[in-house]
């Protein structure tokens, strides 16, 4: 299962957000996408998913990417008065997957018979992740999968990513927590102002982390009396 992205562009009005992105994703690999707020990560994911019209091409072996894509959005939106169980059923039915025995497959121990809109941020995230894991997807886009989740769930998510990789899936992750990317990714792409600024292999993750820390911190804190 390979995905090829060529010259992907996206503008909002006259503002270019993504400028000619070229990427290759190969099955059995985990790809990290990092960048500052507003760098275009979520827009890139939305374009790959087909949720945003864009320029350039996204080519997948054996059919449309969207039909085999599990997309975990940054802030999964839960409709009011819909239970967690109904959300999971919806995602199963939409992809023609059996929706029985959801309790046995409730790996995050979510209260499925409560309204999903009343879940905490982390619970919504886990419900949305659970939903895409029930589907027979080949590619996973996980936009900030660790946002708001508790420590046990974070460990579980890391293990899930490892298992998805072992079963040959393509996984794209964005995260603002570098350690989670170090634990899971094979390659990290650095997105800067809508362009792919850098591609870093696993061996160089520490160097990338140091470079990012130097850039982020620099001498900015000298102005504060932090001792």
């Amino acid at each position: 299962m390979n995905v090829q992205v060529r010259q992907l562009t996206k503008s909002f009005g006259v503002n270019p957000v993504l400028a000619g992105i070229d990427l290759d994703f190969v099955g059995g690999h985990v790809y990290g996408i990092v960048g500052q707020n507003g760098a275009g990560k979520t827009t890139l994911f939305n374009c790959l998913a087909g949720l945003e019209a864009h320029g350039g091409t996204v080519t997948t072996e054996g059919g449309r990417l969207k039909d085999r894509l599990g997309f975990l959005q940054t802030e999964p939106f839960m409709l009011s008065r819909m239970t967690g169980r109904e959300y999971l059923r919806l995602c199963c039915k939409a992809r023609g997957v059996p929706d029985g025995d959801l309790d046995a497959r409730n790996v995050f121990d979510l209260p499925l018979d409560r309204y999903a809109q009343q879940y905490s941020t982390g619970m919504k995230k886990k419900l949305a992740l659970q939903a895409i894991l029930l589907q027979p997807n080949d590619v996973f886009i996980l936009d900030e999968p660790y946002n708001g989740v508790d420590i046990h769930s974070a460990l579980l998510i890391t293990e899930i990513i490892h298992r998805l990789r072992a079963s040959g899936k393509v996984i794209l992750i964005s995260s603002h927590i570098f350690s989670t990317l170090k634990d899971t990714c094979d390659v990290i792409h650095v997105l800067d102002s809508g362009k792919m600024a850098k591609t870093v292999e696993k061996a160089d993750f520490n160097r990338l982390e140091q470079a990012m820390t130097d850039f982020a911190v620099g001498n900015k804190l000298d102005a504060l009396p932090l001792g």
Partner: protein, 307 residues
């Protein structure tokens, strides 16, 4: 306290933008709405002796628009206690004033004062607090409009059933047919708002298959609510079974139209001209033969971009 004038200015701006989004000139609404209000009020008071009761009831329903619990929580977070109550009191009073003025004009003084008291009492009313308790529905197995719509409209659904019982009790077949139409309209309202793009995107279907699935689900689920009503009506008013059947067919047609209109405007909302076409189709049912194919084509083209 200058935050309160700012809040009302902001609401006026939001209203202005909403009207513009409907695709009509706001000035047109600002001029025509008071005229319509007065005309409807005069018509109501000319037709029935119970007009003041109905009028205060309508005013109460309008007040409920400001009582949503999420909105109130937001306002309470934003404003201090004093400013919050002042603001709630002012918005309720401003809402009720046109009703109160007309009631005074008609000489229904006690009703006018009653409406103003209602405005004060409504400051403390909260609606839409679903709480942790989940209402079980027969629609949970299918996604998703009926399950959540039914929960949101349970009060109205029960009211329509009650009306049907009254219609049968007083032997009024027109009222019983009207309850079926009302139930279909309630169900059609489940399709009044678009869900986020993601909820349509997850389907690996073409536009035709997607719309077919949505229509099939809607018809299947509406029958759960309407079928018992139709059977009861046909049993009690067996002479007019054909008319009831016709009402059912038109109701189903209207529901199909509501589904198609939603996806014709998706992920936005049905705009005013489209809404007027829909309303016209309800008043003149043969129009459905034109509007259903029209909205189908629009929905198919529109949803193609997402699927």
């Amino acid at each position: 306290m200058d935050v309160i004038p700012y809040f009302f200015c902001l609401q006026a701006k939001r209203m202005h933008r909403t009207i513009s989004d409907w695709g009509i000139y706001p000035l047109f609404v600002y001029i025509s709405l008071p005229i319509l209000f007065v005309a409807a009020s005069v018509a109501l008071f000319q037709r029935t002796l119970h007009a003041p009761w109905i009028y205060v009831g309508v005013a109460g329903v309008v007040l409920l628009q400001w009582c949503d619990v999420a909105r109130q929580r937001f306002l309470q977070q934003l404003f201090g206690r004093q400013a919050y109550f002042c603001l709630r009191f002012l918005e309720n009073t401003v809402t009720i004033l046109p009703f109160a003025f007309f009631l005074f004009y008609e000489g229904a003084v006690w009703f006018a004062w009653g409406a103003l008291v209602l405005a004060v009492l409504a400051v403390f009313v909260r609606t839409g607090n679903s709480g942790p308790r989940v209402l079980r529905t027969p629609f949970s197995r299918e996604p998703f409009e009926f399950a959540i719509g039914f929960r949101a409209s349970i009060f109205w659904v029960l009211l329509v059933y009650l009306l049907l019982v009254i219609a049968i009790y007083v032997n009024n077949e027109n009222l019983s047919a009207a309850t079926i139409v009302l139930m279909v309209l309630i169900c059609a309202s489940y399709y009044g708002r678009s869900e986020p793009l993601f909820y349509a995107w997850i389907y690996p279907l073409g536009p035709h298959a997607f719309l077919k699935l949505k229509i099939k689900t809607a018809l299947k689920q509406v029958s759960l609510l309407v079928f018992p009503m139709a059977v009861a009506t046909m049993i009690y008013f067996s002479d007019n079974w054909l008319a009831i059947l016709l009402v059912l067919v038109v109701g189903c047609g209207y529901l199909v139209l509501a589904v198609l209109a939603k996806y014709a405007a998706f992920p936005g909302s049905v705009n005013l001209p489209q809404g007027m076409v829909m309303a016209l189709s309800l008043v003149l049912p043969p129009l459905l033969l034109v509007t259903i194919p029209y909205f189908y084509r629009r929905a198919e083209n529109n949803i193609l971009r997402i699927l």
